[in-house]
C-alpha cells in the first residue's frame, strides 16, 4: 500500500495524473498559493490539436524557469467522461507541472468570464500572473515557445 501511495504521489508530482477539479474560485485560490512566483495558467483540452501541439513547450518552459520562480498550472476543459483520455495524455507528456480539470457543472460562460472578460472561450488560452498575484497578460491561441519565454522572462525580472 505504501508503495502504491508513493507511486501515486510521484505521478502527481510529475503531473502525469490530474491533481483534482477546480472551478473559477478554486483556481483563484490555487494561484494565490503561488504568490511570490510568476504563474502561467494554460487552458487546454485533449480534443484541441493546437493545445496538444504546444503542451511540450509548456513542460520545457516549466523545467527551464522553475528555479527562477515560474509555476505552470494546466487546466483541462475536457468533460468528466474524458478523464481517461486526459490522464493518458498526461502520462505520455509527463509535463512536470500540475494539471486540474475544470469542475463539472454550471454554465461554461461563467467560468470563462471569471477567468478573463476578454476570453471568448477559444482554446488554448493562457493567462500570466506576476509574482504579486496581479494578472499581467493573456494570450489567445497557440503561441511559440519563444513568445512564452519572452513573456515569462519579462515578469521574472
Amino acid at each position: 500500500m505504501a508503495a502504491l501511495l508513493l507511486a501515486a504521489s510521484g505521478s502527481l508530482a510529475q503531473g502525469t495524473r490530474l491533481a483534482g477539479e477546480v472551478d473559477a474560485g478554486g483556481l483563484s485560490e490555487r494561484i494565490a498559493r503561488e504568490k511570490g512566483h510568476v504563474v502561467l495558467v494554460n487552458f487546454w483540452a485533449t480534443w484541441c490539436v493546437p493545445c496538444r501541439e504546444e503542451f511540450p513547450d509548456l513542460s520545457r518552459l516549466q523545467k527551464a524557469y522553475a528555479a527562477k520562480g515560474l509555476r505552470v498550472i494546466g487546466i483541462s476543459t475536457d468533460l468528466e467522461r474524458e478523464t481517461p483520455a486526459v490522464e493518458k495524455f498526461l502520462g505520455e507528456q509527463k509535463p512536470g507541472f500540475p494539471n486540474y480539470r475544470k469542475k463539472k457543472g454550471g454554465d461554461d460562460q461563467q467560468f470563462i468570464d471569471a477567468i478573463d472578460a476578454s476570453w471568448g472561450g477559444e482554446l488554448p488560452f493562457t493567462v500570466l500572473y506576476a509574482s504579486d498575484g496581479r494578472k499581467a497578460r493573456v494570450l489567445s491561441g497557440k503561441r511559440p515557445y519563444s513568445e512564452y519565454e519572452k513573456e515569462v522572462r519579462a515578469l521574472l525580472r
Binding site: E29, P50, Q109, D116, S118, G121, E122, L139
Partner: protein
Amino acid sequence: MRLVRPTLVLFASLVLPQIALAASPQIGAPAPDFTLKTVDGKTFSLAEAARTHKAVVVMFIATKCPYSNAYNDRMREMAAAYEKQGIVFAGINSNKSEPADEVVSHAKQHGLAFPLMKDPENKVADLYDARHTPEIFVVDPQGKLRYHGRIDENYEDPAKVASPDLKNALDAMLVGKAIARAETKAFGCSIKRV
C-alpha cells in the same frame, strides 16, 4: 488558506494594460460587410443576404473541431427550420488547415445544405474578430449585429440544452422583441489563421 474572490479576478481583467486581441463588432453596430465565393461557386454578399432576409446567421465553423462537429445536426436542423421563416444561415470556414474540398465533403457527410464559404487568409474572421468554432454572429435586415456567441450551452447533449441562446435570439427577432441575451460564450477550437 487565503481566499481570492472571483470578483478580484474580474477586476484585474478590467485594468490589464494590454490585450493582444482586436475588438469584436458591438451589438447594435453595423456588422462588417463581406462578399465571399461559396464552395459551389456562387457569390455570397452579406449586405445582399441581409436586405433579402429577416436575419442572416453567420457561423464560423470547422470540419475537424469536435466542438463545431457536435453542432452539425443542430445547425442543419435550425437552418432548415428558420429558412421557412425567412432567415438564412451561412457557414464560414476560416481555418487555413481545412481546404475547400474538405469543406465540401464534410458538408455532404453531415447534410449541411446552407451556403458554405472558405475565408481566404481569414480576412472575414479578422473583420469580426472571430476566435473559435463554432462562433455565431446574427445580422438584421439593416445590417446591424444583433447576436454574438454560441448556439447553446450544451455541446455534449442536445437533449439537455438549458439555454438555447441562438434560437432565443432568432425567435425574438422574428416577433420584433429585444434579444434578452445578445452576447454569450462557450469553449471552442481556435481558428487556425495564416
